[in-house]
Symmetry: C2
Amino acid sequence: MSNCYVGIDLGGTNIAGGVASEDGCLLRTASAPTRSEEGPEAILARIAELGAELAQGRLLGLGVGVPGLVDTASGVTKFLPNLPTQWRDVAAGEYLRSKLGCPVRLLNDCRTAALGELQFGAGRNYRDLALFMIGTGIGGGVILDGQVRLGALGAAGELGHQTILPDGPLCGCGNRGCLETLASGPAIAGEGVRLMRSGLAPKLFELTAGNAEAVTPKSMAEAARLGDRAVEASIARIAGYLGIGVANVIVTVHPQLVVIGGGVAAMGDLLLEPLRRTVKDRVGMLPPETVAIEPSPLGDQSGIYGAVALAMTARE
Amino acid sequence: MSNCYVGIDLGGTNIAGGVASEDGCLLRTASAPTRSEEGPEAILARIAELGAELAQGRLLGLGVGVPGLVDTASGVTKFLPNLPTQWRDVAAGEYLRSKLGCPVRLLNDCRTAALGELQFGAGRNYRDLALFMIGTGIGGGVILDGQVRLGALGAAGELGHQTILPDGPLCGCGNRGCLETLASGPAIAGEGVRLMRSGLAPKLFELTAGNAEAVTPKSMAEAARLGDRAVEASIARIAGYLGIGVANVIVTVHPQLVVIGGGVAAMGDLLLEPLRRTVKDRVGMLPPETVAIEPSPLGDQSGIYGAVALAMTARE
């Protein structure tokens, strides 16, 4: 039997896991429901079970991406806003280590995804990257000289909480005008609903049968491709906000690569072209062409790939 | 004779230098005119001369802070916008090494000042800091885990070129609404002139005899203390822009410390209090009290202290 790593991505709905060979080839994935209302004990038991099921041969390390903040040194969870029960000060790392008998590392899911991009994704040929993970919110991760930047609380890399419009919309974090309020999945879909109900998006209306529930970044991208100019213009405007967030990160740490991940990245060039244009227009202090801006190639599996990359650092 | 380090701060008007003992005690400073119109050859000769004059005993390293971009690995200057003659691709490091017979390191002056804060200033008890250097422009430097973040071109840390107002004033870098356009010395003084000429700043008028030339951040701070409420409110609004720039850096890299340096920092609590309040209001993703925000204690000599700190890394 050979050696392996297991990576687990803990989400609000599902626990997704993968097992990789010692040299990092993903061999198999599997998942289990989170059932978040059952609380930490049941969920951690389910993670341990999934890990044991996935493991083939000797388990060298377990990595777990969690939706929130965790004390990375101790493996104690701190603040998991998307899981309804109380996760403050749960010794998750210790529990999983005792159950699975291997080194365990826990980290915020977006920082974990950034490690995945570095190891397996868009960042394979780079030493630095900034990941913007655009979904229900906008998370992120910053890797410099091959090391994920954590800060004292593992909270560095919250790229969606840069202020883009000082008097902008209220954000869940308490601030106003965060990038997340302007360019997250819900922000984009909200704009799509506005356009559709204002009669400015006939193709989007056709595609969704006028149902707001079906208005998503994906259906909006399709409508724009079919000729909804107002939708296309809105996407470009939103991409401009993203471009400001990207440009701010570039002047601050000048990474070699910026990766756009999460469901919204599937909008492709409709989003990426105006984003790149904004960066080119706004970054004047260094040559903007020194920073590549790429969509994540890992798609839905970026969480699993990240957790496997995290597992590989757990061993060190 | 003992060993020493020499640090040189190359400015548009003066070349300031200092010599420090092997353990980093500043022993003596001296300066020479830049005479920037004379071009690289004459200026580098003057730097070498000043360095030789300052050196006491064996020179272990020379550090030179330069106003612009330099290839730090080779010591070749790239872009020095504030010196009028052509500095592109001047092998300054090699020349100074041959003249002074010691390891030489060149670095952007604000990144150099950040090293000075870490070694000798507000950052002595920290491993991370972000420096906002507020003068004619706003420069900066980011130090993470004890290392200055350079990026491929030594251009990381341009914290004054974050976009704060997407449709704001035109910046020298080509962008709009950079922090530098809103909170640099000239931006603050411009607002003071507006208030004075609009009859809203009687104390400032008294202090300056109504002469716009005498309106500076310093005279404005004095006017605010004497009772000019409009001046005080303007300073607070400008400090709010700075606070947004600081908050963006905090969510991105979560440094332990933010240092406010440059002439404008002399405004003290008039600037720092509203700045700190803004950070507290806008940073919701991590406890803002985990980041200290302090004025630079090095004042006018931050460039020299920085260059000495740079010299001490040249030896390594």
